[in-house]
Amino acid sequence: MKRLSDQTLYEIIEVSVETSPEEIARACDRAAATYGAGSLVTYTLASSEESALLSSRIEEARAVLLDPSARSRYDERIGVRPHATPLPASPGTPVQALPPPPETRPEPGASSPAWPPAEVDVAVAEPLHISPGLPVFVPVAPPATEPAAPSATVPAAQVVSSPPPATLAPEGSRVHGGTSPAESSPWLEPASPGGDEVQPPAAPSQAAAPPAPDQPSAVAAPLPLALARPEPQPAPPIAPVAPIALTRAVAPILLDREVPPPRPLLVPEGAAWSGEMLRRVRESRGLTLQQVAERTRITRHHLENIELDRFKALPAAVYLRGIIMSLARELRLDGQKVARSYLDRMGPASDGEAKR
């Protein structure tokens, strides 16, 4: 008995831990075809959220298990021998029988996923903390430079309307001991409510539009630079928006690590969710890409492409929707709205499914 999020990547694609890369590639294809969008065997069994989680885990299996070094790190993490040195298994007995018989239910404590030891990711994560001078505020003006006009005119209330915490309450069904990392993370709940961090709204006129989403090079540019830009001409009238404070205290579990201090971040109502915005929210939460990758089980590769708006490199919209939803949830945003907004920006590249 294992949750989908607790099953190993090997269990997800139903191969033994010794499987060759060629066979793993085939198993990933097979799993993607079997459980992918519209699959007859899953569409009435699982919620769309669960299907999206499974799809992203299959993609994760592809990314991790086909990369020798990533695979050996992963093997070490889940406690199996490196696949290069097969175990002297007794004849006919797979090294790790898949699936495990139902009787061998793990101890309750063991069912909560063990995070990799801190040293695994801190080293990787540190260099990611760029843009130390990132300003505290995201501009309040709606991004008038959006390429897709319709998305800029999305009614404000539709994109960011409710205070994020309301949508982020941990699902009641979750156990704090065995919380799925890909879903709610109760331990991420703030140690202290960040109510005092609500900042007065900045004067909207002095803030510039966020970088256009098709300019990944502008990602790390501190905002003051953007002041040099001309005020976007066709900007819709800037309503006196009520910015929503998104900042919460950093999770206690992170306190012993070198993480950037959380910074208050205000997200304007009606803003389209670009990769850049998601990056800012993530950084305001003091999370590295690596940490988000581990918690959401979305590969870092995908996360980077999302934040850089590399639409071409991203998976199909039906998968991407689930991926963005779990990313947004990890950032304590409204997954539905963020995913809709993000996919809308992809324009015709995304199919109707995403805009539903």
Binding site: L4, V41, P102
Partner: protein
């Protein structure tokens, strides 16, 4: 006692296999060799997917292997198993037993023309029998369990009514039938989920976990048994361990009917894997049955396929499944199959 829940419980491994635990509400059976060794029920939620034909042909296949088999038409209100066997409406039916016109279930068993195979024909023209009272259902189940046969095969009706689920849950082999169509797959999942949650309820009732489960499930809905068990473990480790043990025994046997392509047959494995992925539970794939024109021709002439055309692919598929069931029931494996 008659109001107790109906289910098979996991027995401690050191217990004698034939000794059912003495539990409030559990149908008491005579501890003798005269007990139906295996109860096999055929369900699947949707109508028209071949439950009756599979029951009839599996019955014939098992009887031909020397097993004493009785087919019981448990499709209360929609009985037609006799027709699939080419029989007219038997003189005595389940109605007579339910109405207590006869005392013993054996008294309503009709011969089928196949050696070793008997039929308890379903209730006809009796609205009361279509919705038996709980006590009547318990009596029927007690008698089924006590029948002097090797296999009692229950042909269940469509839907997820508690009557259907209870027959499924009391079986040693709960056979889940689906055909490779979205509607059938959807209903099969609904059926097997409903059966699972009824088992949770019944286990809770037997072991007195009702309050515990009620508290836990009040403010939350559990999609997955894993979450439920984890929560119970937190409150009461012992109850959680027992619950996990009892629930892990829920292990339906899957049959994919009307297989037209190799992909259709593969679907059985995919359903088993998906069930494990999302529900954390096991299922066993018994195999696929080929879609076969000989099948509907046999239905038209009211002759079971295995008597009419035993050589066609679908006929061979029934033989394979029967072999698998018998192999699974070999002494020594019985404990695993509870």
């Amino acid at each position: 006692m008659a109001d107790g829940p109906i289910l098979k419980l996991v027995q401690p491994t050191d217990a004698v296999v034939e000794t059912p635990p003495v539990i409030r509400g559990f149908p008491r059976v005579k501890l003798s060799a005269t007990r139906a060794r295996r109860i096999l029920s055929v369900g699947g939620g949707k109508g028209g997917i071949g439950k009756s034909l599979i029951s009839a042909n599996l019955g014939i296949a098992l009887a031909r292997r020397g097993q004493r088999v009785v087919l019981i038409d448990a499709d209360l209100g929609g009985a037609n198993l006799h027709t699939t066997l080419g029989l007219d409406v038997p003189r005595r039916t389940l109605s007579d037993f339910i109405d207590r016109k006869v005392e013993r279930l054996e008294d309503v068993v009709s011969p089928t023309g196949v050696p070793n195979l008997g039929l308890v024909s379903g209730a006809l023209d009796n609205l009361e029998a279509a919705m038996p009272k709980h006590a009547q259902k318990m009596r029927l189940l007690r008698h089924i369990q006590a029948m002097d046969v090797d296999y009692a095969i229950l042909d269940l009706g469509a839907g997820t009514h508690t009557n259907v689920l209870d027959f499924f849950l009391v079986s040693d082999h709960g056979v889940l039938v689906l055909v490779p169509e979205p509607t059938a797959v959807e209903n099969a999942y609904r059926f097997v989920k409903a059966a699972f949650w009824r088992r949770v309820r019944n286990v809770a009732q037997v072991f007195g976990y009702e309050t515990l489960l009620h508290d836990i499930m009040e403010g939350a809905s559990f999609r997955s048994p894993v979450d439920l068990v984890a929560t119970v473990v937190e409150r009461d480790p012992e109850a959680g361990a027992n619950l996990a043990n009892q629930l892990a025994a829920f292990r339906p046997r899957l049959v994919v009917n009307q297989v037209r392509t190799p992909q259709d047959a593969e679907m059985g494995h995919a359903v088993v894997a998906a069930w494990r992925k999302y529900f954390g539970l096991e299922m066993e794939y018994l195999g696929g049955i080929e879609h076969d024109d000989a099948m509907w021709r046999a239905v038209r002439v009211r002759r079971p396929l295995l008597l009419d055309r035993p050589d066609v692919p679908a006929g061979l598929a029934f033989e394979r499944i029967a072999d698998r069931l018998i192999a699974a029931d070999q002494p020594g494996r019985i404990a695993d199959q509870a």
